[in-house]
């Protein structure tokens, strides 16, 4: 398959790994954060930890939109749907995420009209087909998915579709990276920059990380060879004592981003003064809300939102894992109370969440070892 097989070629992968071994400074331990949940998933899915030198530690970042969403937002979205007898439409990623009174799937089993959609445009289509019903699209995602929500809202307004609204949970990646860097218990050497987000925002928004924080950033693709090449590029910078933003994912990511997508986002969204992130707390100007010109299509402006606040379960250490301070298996609940089937923390729900990725792909390779670690802790 083109654009896939080339990037999984065993010969090229072996060469990249050899290059990493060659340029890694002996005795130095590298802490590299992959910001994006898609990268976390790919790292486990392709078993890259098996082939990387031990001294290259990959730290999983906050770039999983499902994971950083506070439970109160899920409760609010489902409550709105229930109260207004509306159709609750969301991506498959959301369906097993637990709210206080169960996940969207569990609400569906109890009678709420919950639909999986593959794009916001599908949710709008549901609204066209059911003019007598309200349709609430539960929007999640970073800048990757925000433009399609924006375009859908523009279309809904243009067509005057009145029974459609968006419960907007879109967040932006750069403030999250800043929060990680501001965290006192975090020491990082470099970043693997997000791939999909960068197709929209480009590479420029990361320049401050290199300039002001002195950390190299390489925007990366999602195949094994992409990630390995990005690590090579980061190690070269570190070795040369440089810090700059580089683009490994040139076949998809334009340096300046996607102007049309950015324009659509600017037309529909504005920054919220602050927004709560699960595990990271309130971060100012880190999320998008719908402008008042689109108020009629904004679930929050149209309906009475309960504004539920839910504290994370005390025993779960999602915040520490999300910030990369703890490894998934070091959380007290990991693999015991908290599993992909019965997730307590959101990191266990989304397949991009570092706990779920670790549990699904890695955990039982070394299950005996993990038991030892957790019994010591």
């Amino acid at each position: 398959m083109r654009y896939v097989d080339e990037f999984r070629d065993p010969g090229l992968i072996t060469r990249a790994v050899e290059e990493i071994h060659r340029i890694a400074e002996p005795g130095r331990h590298y802490r590299i954060m992959e910001v994006c949940g898609g990268h976390t998933h790919a790292i486990y899915r392709f078993g890259l930890k098996d082939i990387l030198p031990e001294d290259i530690e990959l730290i999983h970042g906050p770039g999983c939109p499902v994971c950083v969403l506070p439970m109160g937002r899920i409760d609010d979205g489902l409550a709105l749907a229930q109260k207004n007898d509306a159709i609750f439409a969301a991506f498959g990623d959301m369906m097993r995420v637990p709210g206080t009174h169960g996940s969207p799937f569990e609400h569906k089993a109890r009678g709420t009209d919950v639909r999986i959609v593959y794009s916001p445009a599908d949710a709008l289509q549901i609204a066209r087909k059911n003019p007598e019903r309200q349709v609430i699209f539960f929007a999640i995602g970073f800048e990757t998915t925000a433009p399609s929500t924006a375009l859908t809202l523009m279309r809904a307004k243009r067509e005057g579709i009145r029974n459609f609204s968006v419960f907007c949970n879109h967040v932006t990646i750069v403030p999250a990276i800043r929060a990680i860097l501001d965290s006192p218990d975090m020491r990082l050497d470099a970043f693997i920059g997000p791939g999909h987000v960068s197709t929209v925002i480009g590479c420029r928004p990361y320049e401050w990380i290199a300039r002001a924080e002195g950390k190299p950033v390489v925007t990366s693709g999602f195949e094994p060879l992409d990630l390995l090449q990005s690590i090579v590029m980061l190690l070269r910078q570190l070795r040369a004592g440089e810090a700059k933003v580089e683009n490994q994912y040139k076949r998809v990511v334009p340096w300046e981003g996607n102007r049309a997508a950015l324009k659509a986002m600017a037309e529909v969204f504005e920054l919220r003064p602050h927004f709560e992130w699960r595990g990271l707390g309130f971060i100012s100007q880190s999320a998008l809300r719908i402008r008042k010109e689109y108020a009629d299509w904004d679930s929050e402006q149209r309906f009475d939102v309960p504004e539920t606040r839910v504290a994370d379960p005390k025993a779960a250490q999602c915040g520490e894992v999300l910030k990369g301070v703890l490894k998934p298996a070091q959380c007290k609940l990991f693999g015991k109370e908290c599993t992909p089937e019965h997730p307590i923390g959101a990191l266990m729900v989304s397949s991009e969440g570092s706990c779920a990725a670790y549990y699904n792909y890695e955990y039982r390779k070394t299950a005996s070892l993990v038991t030892e670690i957790s019994s010591v802790a």
Binding site: Y118, S119, K365
Partner: protein
């Protein structure tokens, strides 16, 4: 819904509720077909239900699926189907032409499988209480000679054989529902696997230790069940798993693991190492078995788990499916 998706929840339902209360005297492990003895004659027995949306899809339909699926449960249980009964649950308002088409599809599938339909029942439920129709079957068959299937007889070093490309059925259904607006030249793989099983048994009966048809939950779920039943590890080589480009492409696009996707015309067999070449040769020479491959082997570690390795040295655990496979978007 997860309890019906063939993965972890299904297994928990069977082991936690059905088995202790209903199958109290059961000695053998839970397979797709049961063995009973009547007046000294061994009989294999199975039952299955078919709920599929849409009723017709490229490469097949619910009627054909019902016959093939039931015969396959018997075949991988080491038996040749003999006779079958069927129950139709019909939704009020179902067009008679649709019903007739499905009955014809069943009739053709019965003829191909060489099995007799000997009875049936029909129920009609109110509109919106069923997706057009549900079909439930039960069948008996006679055990194939010299075959002793038991997960507990599986040993490290045994080879894992797969009869052909995976994921055709599950991806075909996903695309046929039309929600994804994806198109691919793909057909369900629904077929009766008995001829392939018989070809295998003829050449290598004494080496075949375990068989399963990886329907809902896919190859990963079947092999995880095996790993837990035998207490050993199953090690697969990713590049050896046969798969069409369209299935691979759809899975890449949707973030699904092809090993979790349903099949309706394939089976997995564990064969003793001395018999592996013979078994593969037998399958490859049988019509429809050309794409059969050895996809891995049984090892001591990781115990109770399935490990998939790649040629470049990376590896990952593949668990049973938890719930239905959901496409990833963001």
């Amino acid at each position: 819904m997860a309890h019906g998706a063939g993965g972890k929840a299904s297994r928990r339902l069977v082991e936690g509720l059905f088995a202790p209360l209903l199958y109290g005297s059961l000695q053998q492990s839970l397979g797709d077909a049961a063995r009973v003895e009547m007046n000294g004659t061994p009989i294999a027995m199975t039952t299955d239900s078919f709920v599929v949306k849409p009723l017709r899809f490229p490469g097949g339909s619910i009627g054909e699926l019902a016959v093939n699926g039931t015969m396959n449960d018997l075949a991988v249980g080491g038996a040749r189907g003999h006779s079958m009964v069927v129950t139709f649950v019909l939704e009020e308002g179902l067009l008679s032409s649709i019903l007739e088409a499905e009955v014809r599809a069943m009739s053709n599938a019965l003829r191909r499988a060489g099995v007799a339909m000997v009875g049936g029942d029909t129920k009609v439920v109110e509109r919106s209480k069923a997706d057009g129709m549900y079909i439930t079957t039960a069948a008996i068959g006679s055990p194939l000679p010299d075959l002793h299937l038991d997960a507990r007889s599986v040993r490290p070093g045994d080879k894992i054989l797969l009869s052909g490309p995976i994921g055709d059925h599950g991806i075909t259904i996903l695309l046929a529902r039309g929600d994804l607006e994806l198109e691919a030249d793909l057909r369900s793989d629904t077929r009766c696997v008995l001829p392939l099983v018989e070809a295998l048994v003829q050449e290598a009966a004494h080496g075949v230790r375990w068989m399963r048809d990886p329907t809902r939950g896919g190859v990963a779920t079947s092999l995880n069940e095996l790993a837990r039943d035998c207490g050993l590890g199953i090690s697969l080589l990713e590049e050896e798993i046969p798969m069409r480009d369209a299935v691979r492409g759809a899975c890449e696009l949707l973030g699904l693991d092809p090993l979790h996707i349903a099949n309706e015309g394939q089976f997995v067999a564990v064969v003793a190492p001395d018999f592996a070449d013979l078994a593969l040769h037998a399958l490859n020479n049988a019509p429809g078995g050309e794409d059969a491959r050895v996809i891995g082997e049984v090892r001591k570690e990781p115990a109770n788990a399935v490990l998939v390795s790649t040629r470049y040295g990376g590896s990952r655990i593949v668990d049973m499916l938890a719930g239905d496979p959901l496409p990833r978007i963001c």
